[in-house]
């Protein structure tokens, strides 16, 4: 059953196209995360679903209702704003009760609902406080509470964690995950933070330039990015891209020789995508594809370390993840072994993924 369906939605703001034909379905009880860089249109899409913006074309259904032209208050959605947008002149209790009072709920219903929300979010001690007397995390919880209290059929989150510090963010992230499990509510969640996106999403929607790049479960999107953009956007540190030369029926990329995959037809300009985690320091006699990294900076993180530099015979920057213990033994010329089964090949012209590659047999 589909709880939210978005069809061919287009939107221009000030003449510039922001959404260019978006199609998206969110199933009942699913948490879908919209992720993408600034300006990709994810917030606009969310606001269009909320009714704060009207689409220029396309249709939006919540449940089986066409809400495309409805005002926000008629859509039965709850929204958590980036700034929280708590009513500064009302107490936490009044903030929570605001939407219920407007719907002329009975006083007992309102009180019961507030008690429930307060216990869910741990707001019991804060009910009589004003927003200005609370910390950022507390305000954030009240903002969520306000959305929950009304029991809408769809929850919308507009970068709700971006005003929190890193530690708090991790904490609330988990809390939202639990909340989703408990409420089994349908949620559309906007963020530019890939960690949030990966950890929270049932399904991930990567947006870029007003179009959907890829939709899928987070691990699948991570493992099989459909485009160079998605591959580069997800994962930290970002995927390395190495220019690829074609030599006969072989591909050469900075000292690595690969077989031309069967899917590759016309020879084009190609790039090899290698995640920093998919290389390791080459051992003596290591036969597999070997790279030579000219290291200039090493970031030691403790458990692991990142070596930054350039591949020999290439102009592209490259980052390699190393064991934490290897950090102080890194030499300027670092030999790396590459597990090509995890590497991706991209068409440089279209950015499309050409799938994984397999190693070429024998020495180059």
């Amino acid at each position: 059953m589909t709880s939210l369906s978005i069809r061919h939605v287009e939107k221009k703001l000030g003449g510039a196209p922001i959404l260019r034909g978006i199609d998206l379905d969110v199933r009942n009880g699913e948490l879908v995360v919209l992720v993408g860089p600034s300006g990709c249109g994810k917030s606009t899409l969310l606001r269009t679903v909320a009714g704060l913006e009207l689409p220029d074309a396309g249709a939006i259904h919540i449940g089986d209702r066409d809400v495309t032209r409805l005002a926000p208050r008629e859509r039965d959605v709850g929204m958590v704003f980036q700034s929280y947008a708590l009513y500064p002149h009302l107490t936490v209790r009044e903030n929570l009760a605001f939407g219920l009072t407007l719907r002329r709920e009975k006083k007992e219903t309102i009180d019961a609902r507030i008690a429930e929300v307060a216990s869910t979010l741990g707001l019991e001690a804060l009910l009589e406080r004003y927003p200005r007397d609370m910390s950022g995390g507390q305000r954030q919880r009240v903002a969520m509470g306000r959305a929950i209290a009304r029991r809408p059929s769809l929850f919308l989150f507009d970068e709700p964690l971006s005003n929190l510090d890193a530690a708090l963010r991790a904490e609330v992230r988990v809390e939202i995950k639990r909340l989703h499990a408990r409420l089994s509510a349908t949620m559309l969640y906007v963020t530019h933070d890939q960690v949030e996106a990966m950890t929270l999403a049932d399904r991930l929607v990567v947006l870029s330039g007003g179009v959907v790049e890829q939709v899928g479960p987070p691990l699948e999107v991570y493992a099989r990015p459909k485009s160079r953009f998605v591959a580069g956007f997800l994962g930290s540190p970002a995927m390395n891209f190495v220019a690829v030369r074609r030599e006969g029926d072989r591909l050469r990329a900075a000292g690595v020789s690969l077989e031309v995959p069967s899917s590759l037809e016309t020879p084009t300009s190609l790039a090899l995508g290698v995640r920093p985690h998919d290389v390791r320091v080459a051992r003596e006699g290591d036969g597999s594809a070997a790279l030579s990294l000219v290291v200039d900076v090493v970031e030691a993180m403790g458990f692991e370390a990142y070596a930054h530099g350039r591949l020999e015979g290439s102009e592209d920057a490259f980052v390699a993840r190393l064991e934490g213990s290897a950090a102080d033994r890194v030499e300027p010329g670092l030999r790396l072994a590459l597990d090509v089964t995890h590497a991706h090949l991209f068409d440089e012209a279209t950015g499309r993924s050409l799938g994984s590659v397999s190693p070429a047999g024998g020495e180059p």
Binding site: R73, V77, S83, H89, L102, R103, P131
Partner: protein, 752 residues
């Protein structure tokens, strides 16, 4: 110089003080022994009349020089509004002139204050040069204290083009014009509802304002019938309603009045292309007889300053000689020719050089026939009550008899003797012991070591604020203290005496009258509160609506609208007030003209409390809404947009968003603005004074304008007015403290 009816405001007084200081500096220069004798002459003439005086003084200097007695006369012009005050303060202090020129009706004040000295006997040929009646009014208890320079009175101006062949020497002739006059032309522009201009008609009916002892005398059947006649003239339209000097001037200048009753001061304002003539006031059928309208006349005279051995006594004879020269034929001729003075010297008028000055001659003849303004000090207090009586009768609020009885009561109320002196010992003891206690408490504080240390630490800080402290003490604290002190005194000049709290008791007890009666403090307070509430609510409501419109994202040309809407604020409030006053005129105002378009009959705006009050409120709302609009606009932009979005998602429609987001979030910004606006409105003197002027019958006065009346138009009861001011201060202090506390509490609740 016009009759001394204009209210005096403090600005000219200050200006005059400044000028006096300059004059003092100039006159205290060293004088060589062989220098010519020196005389100082003060006057309050306007430009052209001053020129005439100066030419005449030149002639005097020339004559004396020929006779080998060189003399230098310093002629100093003093602003008219400050003239009397200035004379009364400068002369006793020894800074005054040797002689001055003023209207005759203040002679009693000057003589009784010992400011002027008598002329002794005039040479017979000089004495016979003046109408005996003119010399008569310049005598006080038998002695002659002034020589008449010129005479002024109201005359009839006739627009020759409009008059055509009509004989216009009777009031009835003007009434006949009603049937065949051009559209929009008034037969006779006459400020009939002012006691000054209306006196002519009372006199024609044989009524008078005061008896010889200075008691109220305007009553009886003659006065009542005069009032009936006035009402008939206005109601049939021969004379315009709600007249004023300004209206008379404008109507005649613009050719919209066949005749006008005004003084010589109107002539210089008339445009060149207007063909007009001056005649004596018309005759009228009164009490079955043919009578002449007799206006008051003012005789401008030269007064000699009595100097009791002060300064370098210039020969008193020289000042007298100058005065007689100016008044006599030779000086009079120069003054008439060069300055257009309506000179009193009969010999001058026989001179051929004045034969062609027909208008000047007409001013003179009319003034000679007029009745000199009585010199009793109570005269100045009779005008206000009579003004009101006439207006009430013209509006039909009261029958003539009741109106005159009311005028008598009012006159007696305003001329009532000041409260008896009290022994100030008790108050002095109380105040000085309080001061002593405060000093002791301070001294004890200072002896404490930590206080002394703190003081020593902040001594440089005190040095930095010292100049501001001094300025505030001089400009704010001191005047406040003096004003408060004045409220415990009554009487004027030498009769000033301590009366304890008698002024307050009088005010709060409505001077023994009805507490809810006319002019009672409590009634005026109620009007003031109503005035404040009405204005501030409208200010906020209109300001809020306009600010919401201006902040709407759909509106174009916002900057232009904003500019236009702030404009009323930028125009000086008295200009706006005068413009609105004009717009509310019954016959000639724009408001009634607009109402006429939609078929509403004309409204006499200042005839009823409700409409006069509404006119005041309209003016003040016009002046006041831009401030609230600007404050609201500022506060609106400070409300985050996402609050509205959150409310929208939560289910709030536009109205609910306004009620539960906009209003509560505007409140912290609006509350102080409302408190401030309330104080301004509570004390909005300009609008009340200039628009309704308290009409009808003082009912729209607010506390400040009432205080002003007591201080300046009801015989200078400054102590009484000061007590009013202290009460106003107290009321506002209490009100703002309370609302301030409320605002602080709410700000705590809403947050910054």
């Amino acid at each position: 110089m016009r009759a001394s009816l204009a209210p005096r405001s403090p600005a000219p007084t200050l200006l005059a003080l400044g000028l006096a200081l300059l004059a003092l500096l100039a006159s205290s220069g060293a004088r060589a022994d062989d220098a010519p004798a020196r005389l100082v002459l003060w006057h309050a003439y306007g430009e052209s009349e001053a020129r005439g005086l100066e030419r005449a003084v030149d002639a005097f200097e020339a004559r004396e020089a020929r006779a080998g007695r060189p003399v230098r006369v310093e002629v100093t012009a003093i602003p008219f509004g400050a003239y009397a005050t200035k004379l009364q303060t400068a002369i006793p202090a020894g800074h005054g002139p040797d002689l001055f020129i003023d209207a005759h009706d203040r002679i009693a004040t000057y003589v009784e204050a010992g400011l002027v000295r008598d002329y002794g006997a005039l040479a017979p040929e000089l004495a016979s040069d003046f109408e005996p009646s003119l010399l008569e009014v310049l005598r006080y208890e038998g002695a002659l204290f002034g020589v008449p320079l010129s005479v002024k009175s109201l005359v009839l101006y006739v627009n020759l083009d409009l008059a055509g062949d009509a004989r216009l020497d009777r009031v009835e002739d003007f009434e006949r014009l009603l049937d065949h006059r051009p559209e929009g032309v008034v037969p006779l522009a006459w400020e009939i509802d002012s006691a000054y201009a209306g006196a002519a008609l009372f006199h024609a009916y044989g009524a008078r304002y005061l008896d010889d002892e200075g008691r109220y005398a305007l009553e009886g059947e003659r006065a009542e019938r005069a009032l009936e006649r006035m009402r008939a003239l206005v109601s049939e339209g021969a004379v315009p309603e709600e007249s004023s000097g300004e209206l008379v001037r404008n109507l005649f200048r613009s050719g919209r009045a066949v005749g006008a009753v005004s003084g010589p001061w109107l002539a210089p304002d008339l445009p060149r292309e207007l063909r007009w003539a001056v005649r004596p006031l018309p005759r009228i059928e009164a009490e079955g007889e043919d009578a002449r309208l007799v206006p008051f006349s003012t005789i401008e005279a030269a007064f000699l300053v009595a100097r009791a051995g002060q300064r370098d006594a210039a020969e008193p004879a020289l000042a007298r000689s100058l005065a007689l020269f100016l008044a006599g034929r030779e000086g009079a001729l120069v003054r008439a020719r060069e300055g257009g003075h309506v000179v009193a010297s009969r010999a001058a008028w026989e001179d051929p050089s004045l034969a062609r000055e027909a208008r000047l001659r007409a001013f003179h003849d009319a003034a000679i026939e007029a009745r000199p303004m009585p010199t009793h000090p109570h005269m100045s207090r009779v005008f206000g009550p009579v003004d009101r009586a006439i207006r009430k009768v013209l509006r039909g609020d009261l029958a003539p008899r009741e109106a005159l009885v009311e005028a008598r009561h009012r006159f007696e109320d305003e001329t009532r003797p000041p409260p008896p002196p009290r022994d100030p010992t008790w108050a002095l003891v109380a105040v000085s012991s309080a001061l002593l206690l405060v000093t002791l408490a301070l001294a004890r504080q200072i002896t404490r070591a930590e206080v002394r240390a703190a003081l020593a630490r902040s001594l440089p800080a005190y040095a930095w604020i010292a100049h501001a402290f001094v300025v505030i003490v001089l400009l704010v604290v001191l005047p406040l203290a003096v004003g408060a002190l004045a409220s415990f005194f009554a009487g004027e000049g030498a009769e000033l005496h301590y009366v304890g709290v008698a002024n307050y008791v009088d005010i709060l007890s409505a001077r023994g009258g009805d507490l809810l009666g006319h002019g009672s403090f409590w009634v005026v307070l109620a009007v003031t509160v109503l005035w404040t509430v009405a204005n501030v609510s409208l200010h906020v409501a209109i300001g809020l609506v306009l600010a919401l419109l201006l902040s709407s994202p759909l509106l174009r040309l916002k900057a232009l609208y904003r500019l236009l809407l702030i404009l009323p604020w930028a125009v000086p409030s008295y200009v706006t007030a005068l413009a609105w006053r004009g717009m509310f005129h019954r016959q000639l105002g724009a408001v009634n003209a607009l109402l006429d378009v939609v078929g509403v009959p004309p409204v006499s705006w200042f005839a009823h409390f409700s409409t006069a009050f509404a006119a005041n409120v309209a003016t003040n709302v016009w002046l006041g809404f831009p401030f609230m609009m600007v404050v609201t606009l500022g506060a609106l932009t400070a409300i985050p947009k996402d609050l509205y979005e959150a409310a929208e998602v939560d289910g709030a429609g536009p109205l609910e968003q306004f009620r539960s987001i906009t209003l509560p979030l505007l409140r912290p910004a609006l509350l102080p603005a409302v408190a401030m606006g309330a104080v301004w409105t509570f004390n909005m003197f300009n609008v009340v004074f200039l628009v309704s002027a308290g009409e009808p019958d003082g009912s729209t006065e607010i506390l400040v304008s009432e205080a002003y009346r007591w201080a300046f138009t009801r015989g200078h009861q400054t102590g009484y007015a000061a007590a009013y001011a202290v009460l106003i201060f107290g009321i506002l202090l209490l009100a703002t403290r309370r609302s301030g506390a409320g605002a602080r509490a709410r700000r705590r609740e809403v947050g910054a």
